[in-house]
Amino acid sequence: MQKIPKLLQVVLIVVGVYFGFVLLFDFILGQVIPSSLLNMYMFFIVAGVLAVYTATEDGTRELVAPIKSLVEDPSKKKTRNIVFAVTPVAVALFVYLQLVPSLEAPLELRSIHPAPPSTVKIYGKRFDLRTLVNPYRKLEEEDPEEFRAMVEAGASIYIQNCHFCHGDKLDGQGPYAAGLNPVPLNFQDVGTIAQLQESFLFWRIATGGPGLPDEAAPWISSMPVWQEFLTEEEIWQVILYLYDYTGRRPRSWEE
């Protein structure tokens, strides 16, 4: 660090962090970082780095020394002329690119697991989602045979209605998944049904996309309103199947 001029250190840190973000999001996480978010992060990085390097007067002097000498030292006249010629052109180019209208699709951020309402009207009845439990869950211990039958009924309902989007393997990659945006939920993922209570699933299945609150962009969700196609019993059965097939456990109040 001693040998590298302070100015170069600042530049290296900022550039390094920038590409670090790109590497982390675009390649490791496989999710392209939106430019607006990256710009915001970089603003704080640059401000932070400058604050650290200009904390002492000596530091500030050391930081700007190369720039000062570029202007004041007659032996560096040639370098200065080059830098002074390139800078305005670069700035002009940047301004031009900023002003040219962008045709990048607008960014749409939506909440994937929005907070459920406390009560909801389904099948013309009012359900309290805070206390609602799967009426068949208790069979798992009380009557394993009957429970198996319930899971199997759920499997049939799933394959007749849900696999088209959520996939035969419950991985969100059904035959029509590629044509949908947002993409169907992947139930195998630890971040989905394993994090949710069965009452949440009941609400999401019964009221579908149009039943979502605005922060979850109900207008683009392709999830049908299943209370129009399935009975209450069938929805609870399919929920049993989702957990059984993936080997996940629903979240419950005790936890």
Binding site: V71, E72, R80, F84, T87, P88, V89, V91, A92, L93, F94, V95, Y96, L99, V100, P101, L103, E104, A105, P106, E108, R110, A155, S156, Y158, I159, Q160, H163, F164, G167, D168, K169, D171, Q173, G174, P175, Y176, A178, G179, L180, N181, Q188, G208, G209, P210, D214, A217, P218, W219, I220, S222, P224, V225, E228, Y245
Partner: protein
């Protein structure tokens, strides 16, 4: 005694080592296979392997009936009927694109998939029989312009392949084709390689041409009894030609969600095939069947639509192009013969919001919602007694459509060689409050609906897309240029002042 058992152990180990890398059902355990089968496969293929699982009813192609002993995609030469173990393995591992069968390699181990192969072979009794000889590939002819040209000639010669696949390979049928269970089958659209049951790698195509597809009308072209027989070399040419048919410029690019309409100076001609469209940028999107509203559709015949758009200072043109194997014109004898009964008209629609959203909120993507109305521009192909026509529909939800005056809307369709092209034209600005008013440079949500009248598609039975974007590219403005010029002068001025002040300081010293 001890010596013998030691010897046996060595031989056993040797067999295991020899058997393992090549992979045979013999390495699989049907008992383990059954356990996996009962968990993963019965939903479609049924407990008895007869393809009558609860999911079967809504699937086309239907799930394979293993008890029939017929396997569609195999590499056993045309005179055999038992697939190679590898064929079954590959179907399980990679799945069958274009069907509901997924690839299982991400959740099943190699061993588990071999166990399944062993179990599936029990249904038709193939566990006790040997498969026939595999297809001989002789010597692969690498793809070249020359080979592709030869392949094309053979493809068209005596209507060898074009009889079912169409002159341009789009599978535009002139015959009504049925599978072994009486189900409707469609000749492959060879320009859409992502729908091939196996890849569009020439070797896989060579295999299909040589073996045919058992249980369908796709014959073997290696069978010397066939009038259309081809030598292995000729089959490689055809395979290379078929691979070359892939329409890569019109494949779906998931990154592209924006249709960019360029501004043109001349008026937009009425002909959907006018040259003006050759420069327009195509955007292709996936379409899925409507399974959200009552009267759902589970057996679509098409999966994509290609959209282009241009505009002038006064009007906009939106050109829709999609492959449709059947020209559906009620009353027309040929149409009636090929299409499912009852036959409907082919239709297509563009869906737009009535007002361009300012925030994130858009109308519900299927026909809008109570708070956000949509505009549908719908074109229908007409019958033998009625000409093609357009209508304009305003809707605030499924089943709420109201016909508006469609006077200002033009729609014209042309069906050519398995492809529909429909051009819509409307003025950018209208006087109606129920119609979208176009503006340059803003993102306008746009979605698409299409109906294949020969596939029972009418009303809510259709395919549709989710919302995409349409942008009328702003006409060249001088703002970016002037802005950057100003920045250039400003920076130069600052530099000048800086140098001047530092040299003045020096002089003062």
């Amino acid at each position: 005694m001890r010596l013998v058992s030691k010897w046996l152990r060595i031989v056993g180990l040797g067999c295991l080592l020899m058997g393992a890398p090549s992979g045979y059902a013999a390495d699989g355990s049907p008992e383990n296979g059954e356990e996996i089968y009962l968990k993963r496969c019965v939903g479609c293929h049924g407990v008895d392997g007869d393809g009558l699982g609860p999911g079967a009813e809504r699937l086309l192609p239907p799930p394979r009936d293993f008890t029939s002993g017929m396997f569609k995609i195999m590499s056993t030469a045309f005179d055999g009927y038992i697939p190679q173990d590898q064929d079954i393995f590959k179907m399980i591992k990679l799945g069958m694109p274009g069907t509901a069968m997924p690839g299982w390699q991400d959740i099943l181990s190699e061993q588990e998939m071999w166990d399944l192969v062993a179990y599936i072979k029990v249904f038709p009794g193939y566990d006790e029989e040997e498969p026939g000889a595999a297809v001989e590939y002789v010597e692969q002819v690498p793809s070249s312009e020359d080979s592709i040209a030869k392949g094309k000639e053979l493809f068209l010669e005596d209507d060898r392949c074009s009889e079912c696949h169409g002159e341009d390979g789009k599978g535009n049928a002139i015959k009504r084709l049925l599978g072994d269970n009486g189900e409707r089958t469609w000749p492959r659209n060879l320009t859409k390689p992502w729908t091939f049951r196996h890849s569009n790698n020439p070797k896989d195509i060579f295999t299909r041409i040589s073996v045919g597809i058992p249980g369908t009308q796709m014959p073997s072209f290696a069978d010397p009894a066939s009038k259309k027989v081809l030598t292995p070399e000729e089959r490689w040419h055809v395979a290379n030609y078929v691979q070359s048919l892939a329409k890569t410029s019109e494949a779906v690019n998931p990154e592209n969600t924006v249709i960019k309409a360029a501004r043109v100076d001349q008026a937009i001609p009425d002909d959907p095939y006018d040259e003006i469209w050759t420069d327009a940028l195509p955007s292709t999107f996936f379409m899925v069947p409507q399974i959200i509203a009552e009267n759902r559709h589970f057996t679509p015949s098409n999966d994509t639509i290609t959209v282009r758009s241009i505009y002038t200072p006064t009007e906009i043109g939106i050109l829709l192009e999609w492959d449709d194997r059947t020209f559906s014109q009620p009353g027309d004898e040929d149409s009636e013969k090929i299409g499912d009964s009852p036959l409907y008209e082919d239709k297509v629609a563009v869906q737009l919001p009535v007002t361009i959203p300012t925030g994130m909120e858009k109308p519900y993507f299927v026909m809008g919602d109570r708070d956000n109305a949509v505009n549908l521009w719908r074109w229908r192909g007409g019958t033998t007694s009625e000409p093609e026509a357009v209508s304009q529909i305003s809707a605030t939800g499924v089943g709420t459509g109201v016909e508006l005056d469609a006077e200002g809307l033009m729609g014209r369709g042309v069906y050519k060689s398995g492809t529909w092209r429909v051009l819509f034209k409307r003025s950018l600005i209208t006087e109606s409050e129920d119609e979208l008013q176009f503006r340059e440079g803003v993102f306008i949500p746009i979605a698409f609906f299409a109906w294949d009248g020969s596939n029972g598609e009418s009303g809510t039975k259709h395919i549709l897309s989710t919302w995409y974007w349409l942008v009328l590219e702003s006409s060249s403005s001088s703002v970016p240029f002037l802005g950057s010029l100003l920045a250039l002068i400003l920076v130069l001025g600052l530099e000048f002042l800086w140098v001047r002040s530092s040299s003045l300081q020096e002089e003062n010293h």
